[in-house]
Amino acid sequence: MTRVTQHALFWPATTLALLLVVSAIFNPAFLSIAWRDGHLYGNLVDILNRAAPLMVVSLGMTLVIAVRGLDISVGAVVAIAAAVAALMIGGSFSASGNAASEHPLWMALGTALAAAAACGLWNGLLVVKAGMQPIVATLILMVAGRGIAQLLTGGQIITVYYPPFFTLGNGYLLGVPVALWIAVALWGVLHLALARTALGLFIRAIGGNPEAARVAGIRAASITLCVYTFCGLAAGVAGLIISSNVKSADANNAGQLLELDAILAVTLGGTALTGGRFTLAGTVIGALIIQTLTSMIYSLGVPPEVNLVVKAALVFAVMLLQSAEFRGLVLRVARSARA
């Protein structure tokens, strides 16, 4: 039993299960899954689908945090990737719905991802080569990146009229949302890279003790650079899913505050913000917790004006539940009350 409770994923998983149970109590239909219009349908599918962009961003964020970094520019990078893709695909409205894209779809997606990766590389260079504090280094792109996206779109919402692009955020494959496939595929690739190569060991060594890792001959600088680049790339993928989902690019709002949700997801999942110890599965659960919270608030019919307060209260409760110190305190109080 103690082995189970001491597993790194025990508390995140318990939290998620608790949230689902609470939702089901208030709304018995919450957990039901149906097959409709040739795909899976239900609140749970919705949660998985909507959590996909956050999962993708948070996976990148996990690695950055694992090497003692932080990337608060991911929201802005989402906006940049969305803007680049929307501008390159563009198209114009046609009643038949058979609009053509301005550039081939693969080129548009590739360019958007390349731009996102370049953003990540920039962050990495500031941290590794210029020796800036990660939060300051990425703050620059957090502010400037959204500006760049606004410059690209001319401050307008760019609407995309090219249906094939919509598949990323709205389509289904084998009855499961494409966005979810993308998130799971990224997770899978990352998992393999960490398990089959020395990357996981190196990242944990760098996060645990950067100086010792360097002395042991690990190319800590290059690895850190790659991790930031990957985080940018992941934010780009999320940007594509998000803009595909809303069929447009909104430089002002796309990915707004996503960096904070991502950091929260990583934390909820059990990754240490001090670096070294990290878990991808935990991060995925963390992202699901956040999306479940949001869905729950909607499904409970909480009025929009108290929405944020309720969410904050729930996040607070979840963090308390996951805090070992707090649980210890509760146990001590309970014991002394009994004695």
Binding site: A198, G208, R214, A216, G217, R219
Partner: protein, 508 residues
């Protein structure tokens, strides 16, 4: 100054242990009014711990501290200061964004009466600061920001702040390490003035010349033990070094069976020409041959560690070439050094050796994996086999190879770090203070391991503050002094010869 002067501080039989190490074992310290008393010892001798006990950072496990005859038990630096014990540490701790006066009066600002609006009385603050500095003969504009002052003036102001609370005991922990000669003289003038006012001053430094210039008596510690209290006039530099370094010979096999494997004429495995780094090491040459143990001796700050770090490219060198097998190399970062077959066990195990959260297995596999690169992953089975082999070979005591290395004792951590490098089968292994902070038995095993390694053809650079160890294992001894090469001694040199070379320039 004379022995008849009243005793201000008397610490008797102080003990203090940390997990795995007895930092202080029965240390005595007696400070008299109006004396400057040197606290001497190597790194790890227990000086810092003793200071921390006196200033209330650590509570002693045993022993008594008396101030002016009354027993005291300081529980925090502020408390110690209230009792009359102030300390100034290596780097001055003035707040750079506050004025000198604000720094000096920090925590006890004079207040204006509420009738005048309350708040801090700046006129009074400045007056008090000015008065204090004038009384100490320091000429300084107290409204200036502390951060804008040269290091030396900051140091003087720090001392002034320390004595502003009517300190009876002033502890100066390496106050001169960042000062040049003139600045040291200014500080000494202040120290003498305080001494004449009857303050008991405890002075910690690694510079022997300074000890003989300013101190009246000294207390020597070694490995957490009290070695003795001496009048400076009665113990010369050589005697002092011998007391600090210790000469009790461990009656173990001398490394005499060890045969140097290098054939004459073959180029050195590792050589550096004209290697230097500003402020750390003056240009020097070094050569290491296969199967040879080169001992590196010198006091702290003599350039021992600095040389080792330059050879492994942990710091960037300002000049010099590093040659491996007689060929020039582009050795710019530790990863390059690893690729060339070098290994390095750093002096500071916690900070740059172990990754505390990782298991013993992962810590051992780290360098080998770094050398094999990202894609050729060792895999769990291979890592386990490697770790098991190393744990058995070096006798590393650990519950399991999956235990986080941070939970092991110092000596076992050290062995695991050495195992990390042995796993890469290095051609050159640099060991910076590998025996520091570990017990005698573990030391013995480590020394044997080092001899074995050299027998196997590895070139070893052995750095230790314990001359006796250096003499015992080395085939050749290189002595550094004041960041320069002082000379070389052949195998079998007497410890005395090493001491003389180390003491060299200083008054002896």
């Amino acid at each position: 100054m004379a022995d008849g002067a009243p005793i201000v501080l008397e610490a008797r039989d102080i003990t203090r242990a940390f997990p795995g190490v007895q930092a202080l074992g029965g240390v005595d310290l007696v400070l008299r009014a109006g004396e400057v008393h040197a606290l001497m010892g190597q790194n790890g001798a227990g000086k810092s711990t003793l200071i921390k006990v006196l200033t209330g950072v650590h509570a002693p496990d045993g022993g008594t501290i008396k101030l002016l005859g009354r027993g005291i038990a300081p529980h925090s630096p502020v408390h110690a200061q209230e009792l009359g014990i102030s300390a100034v540490h290596q780097e001055s701790h003035l707040l750079p964004n506050l004025s000198v006066a604000e720094n000096i009066c920090a925590g006890r600002y004079p207040r204006r009466p509420w009738t005048r609006g309350g708040g801090i009385d700046w006129t009074e603050t400045h007056r008090r600061a000015r008065e204090l500095l004038a009384g100490l003969g320091i000429d300084l504009d107290v409204t200036q920001l502390a951060g804008g002052l040269p290091a030396a003036l900051q140091q003087l102001a720090t001392v002034a702040r320390a004595v502003a609370t009517d300190a009876r005991v002033l502890i100066l922990d390496e106050p001169t390490s960042s000062l040049d000669t003139d600045e040291v003289q200014a500080l000494f003038a202040l120290i003498r003035r305080l001494r004449d006012q009857g303050v008991a001053i405890l002075f910690v430094t690694h510079f022997l010349d300074q000890v003989y210039e300013i101190c009246d008596r000294m207390t020597v510690l070694r490995n957490g033990k009290f070695v003795g209290e001496y009048a400076c006039a009665k113990l010369d530099a050589r005697g002092l070094i011998a007391a600090m370094v210790g000469r009790e010979l461990v009656h173990a096999a001398k490394g005499t069976e060890h045969a140097v494997g290098a054939e004459p004429g073959t180029p050195a495995v590792l050589a550096a020409r004209n290697i230097s780094r500003r402020g750390q090491l003056k240009p020097m040459d070094i050569e290491l041959h296969g199967g040879e143990i080169l001992g590196l001796a010198g006091l702290l700050g003599s350039g021992r560690t600095e040389l080792a770090r330059l050879l492994f490219a942990l710091d960037t060198r300002d000049s010099g070439d590093i040659l491996v097998d007689g060929k020039h190399t582009d050795l710019d970062k530790p990863a390059d050094a690893l690729g060339l077959g070098l290994g390095f066990c750093p002096e500071d195990r916690k900070h740059s050796g172990i990754v505390a959260d990782l298991s013993v297995r992962e810590n051992i596999a780290l360098a080998l994996q770094a050398r094999m690169g990202l894609r050729k992953f060792l895999g769990l089975a291979e890592q386990r086999a490697l770790a098991e082999k190393m744990v058995a070979a070096l006798g590393i005591k650990t519950a399991s190879i999956e235990t986080p290395i941070g939970q092991l004792s110092g000596g076992n951590q050290q062995k695991a770090i050495i195992a990390r490098w042995l796993a890469t089968q290095p051609r050159v292994l640099i060991l910076d203070e590998p025996t520091r902070g570990i017990d005698i038995a573990a030391k013995q095993e480590l020394m044997n391991e080092i001899l074995e390694l050299a027998n196997g053809g590895t070139a070893v650079l052995f750095i230790s503050a314990e001359i006796e160890e250096v003499v015992r294992v080395s085939d050749r001894i290189m002595v550094l002094r004041d960041r320069c090469k002082a000379g070389e001694l052949p195998r079998g040199a007497e410890e005395d010869a090493v001491f003389s070379m180390i003491a060299g320039g200083s008054r002896a």
